[in-house]
Symmetry: C2
Subunit: 235 residues, 2 copies
C-alpha cells in the first residue's frame, strides 16, 4: 500500500529544516531505523555529502539513521532494500536527469508503489507527479524526459505563490504559467502552498497542514480546496 | 554585420506593448517596410494569429507591416527573405521546441549573423544566448535541446528580479537559481532588468535603458554594470 508525504517545502519561515514536519515524520517512518536520502537535486549546488549531512541531522532527532543513495555501490539494490526513502529539494531538472542517468526511476516507482514509505520535499515532491512540467526551477541541465514517478494521478506545483496584486513586474505569475501548461497538457495540477503537504495512504490522497491548496484542471477555472480535502476522485 | 535589440520585456509597467522601445525600433528597422514576427512562444497560450495581431498593431505606428512566420508556406524561405525579424515573448520551452520542430533554428541564426535586423523580447531574447538554460519559464513542453542561437557569447536572464529582503517565501531567488546554473555550466549570464535591453552592432554589445544589469560569471561574485556598458570583452 502506497505511503507518501509530498511536501511543498522542507522548511517554513522561522523554523529549522523539516522541523514543522517532524511529528508527522515520526509516525510516517515509525517502522524505520534507517532511511535512504536521495541528494541529487543539490540545492545551491552543494555536494551529495553536504546535503545528506543536513538530512541526517534532522532525522537524528527521531532516532532514524540516514544513508545517502550516492553511498551505495548499487543504487537499485539500495532502493529495493530501503526501509524508507526521502528525496530532498533543489533543482528538479538536475534531480530528474540524475534519476535517468543512474536508471533508478522505475525502481523508485516500484518500491514506492509496493509500500516503502516515501517523503518528498519541493523537487522531491515534484517527481511524485506524472511529469515535471510544472516545476518552478531553472532548466540548468537537460533531462532526457520530463516524465516522472506518477505516484499520484496529477502534477504538483510546490512553493505555490499567489499573484501579488501590487506587483509591477511583467514576468508571468504562477497561475499564468500553469494556465499555459494547460494549453498543451490535460493533467490536473495541485498548487501546494508552503507549509502544506499531501498524505498518500493507498488510494487516499489528503491535503494536510493549515492552508488551502489551489487546483488547476484542464478547461476549468482554478479553485481552492481546504485542509483534509481528499483528492482520490482524480484516481 | 549583426544588428540586434535584445530586450528584457516587451512591456513596462503603465505603458503599452513595445511603447518604451518605439523610438529605438524606428531607428533599428529604418530600412524595413515589412518584418516577420515569430509568434511561437504564445504567451498565455494565445493563437499565432492573435499574437501576430498584437505585433502588427504596435508596428503600425512605425508604418511597418508585420507578417507572422506561421503564414509562410516555407518558413526557411520566409526568414531568408525577411527585411527584419521580431520574436515575441511567452514560453521559451515552447518557442525553442517549435524552432527545432520546424527546423528553422540554423536559418534564423544565419540571417541574423549576416545582418537581418532582429528584435527579441523576453523568450525572444532568451534564444539569442548560447542556451536557454537560464530562462524563468515553466517547462510546459520538452524541447529536444536547450541550445539556442548564440548570437551573443553569453546567456540572458530576462525579467531579472532582485531578491526581496522582506520575503518569507522559501522558493529559490533568481540569483540562487543562476548560481546553481554555474555549478554545471561556465557560460556568463546577463540579468536584464525590465526596461533594459542590449544593442548588438557587429561586435559591439551595449546595455541600453536607464537601469544597471547584473552580471554572473562562473567562479566570480555577481556584479552590476551601468547603462552604456560594453560587453564585447565576452567575445
Amino acid at each position: 500500500m502506497k505511503k507518501l508525504i509530498i511536501a511543498s517545502t522542507s522548511t517554513i519561515h522561522g523554523s529549522g529544516y523539516l522541523e514543522y514536519l517532524l511529528p508527522t515524520l515520526k509516525q510516517h517512518f515509525n517502522n524505520c531505523t534507517e532511511i535512504i536520502f536521495i541528494p541529487f537535486a543539490r540545492p545551491g549546488g552543494i555536494s551529495h555529502d553536504e546535503y545528506t549531512a543536513i538530512a541526517k541531522k534532522a532525522f537524528a532527532t527521531l532516532n532514524i539513521k540516514v544513508k545517502g543513495l550516492h553511498e551505495f555501490e548499487d543504487y537499485n539494490e539500495g532502493l529495493k532494500n530501503a526501509q524508507g526513502i526521502f528525496t530532498g529539494g533543489g533543482n528538479t531538472f538536475l534531480l530528474v536527469s540524475q534519476l535517468y542517468k543512474y536508471k533508478v526511476m522505475s525502481t523508485l516507482k516500484n518500491v514506492i508503489t509496493t509500500g516503502t514509505p516515501y517523503l518528498g520535499t519541493s523537487a522531491g515532491s515534484n517527481i511524485c507527479g506524472l511529469t515535471m512540467n510544472t516545476t518552478n526551477d531553472m532548466p540548468i541541465v537537460h533531462p532526457p524526459s520530463f516524465l516522472t514517478l506518477g505516484c499520484v494521478p496529477f502534477n504538483i506545483n510546490p512553493h505555490y505563490l499567489d499573484p501579488d496584486p501590487t506587483s509591477t513586474h511583467k514576468g508571468e505569475t504562477r497561475e499564468t504559467r500553469i494556465k499555459e501548461f494547460h494549453k498543451f497538457n490535460t493533467v490536473p495540477v495541485i498548487g501546494l502552498r508552503e507549509g502544506s503537504w499531501l498524505t498518500v495512504n493507498g488510494a487516499t490522497i489528503t491535503l494536510d497542514g493549515h492552508l488551502n491548496a489551489r487546483v488547476f484542471e484542464y478547461n476549468k477555472l482554478p479553485y481552492e480546496v481546504k485542509p483534509q480535502h481528499d483528492f482520490s476522485n482524480f484516481n
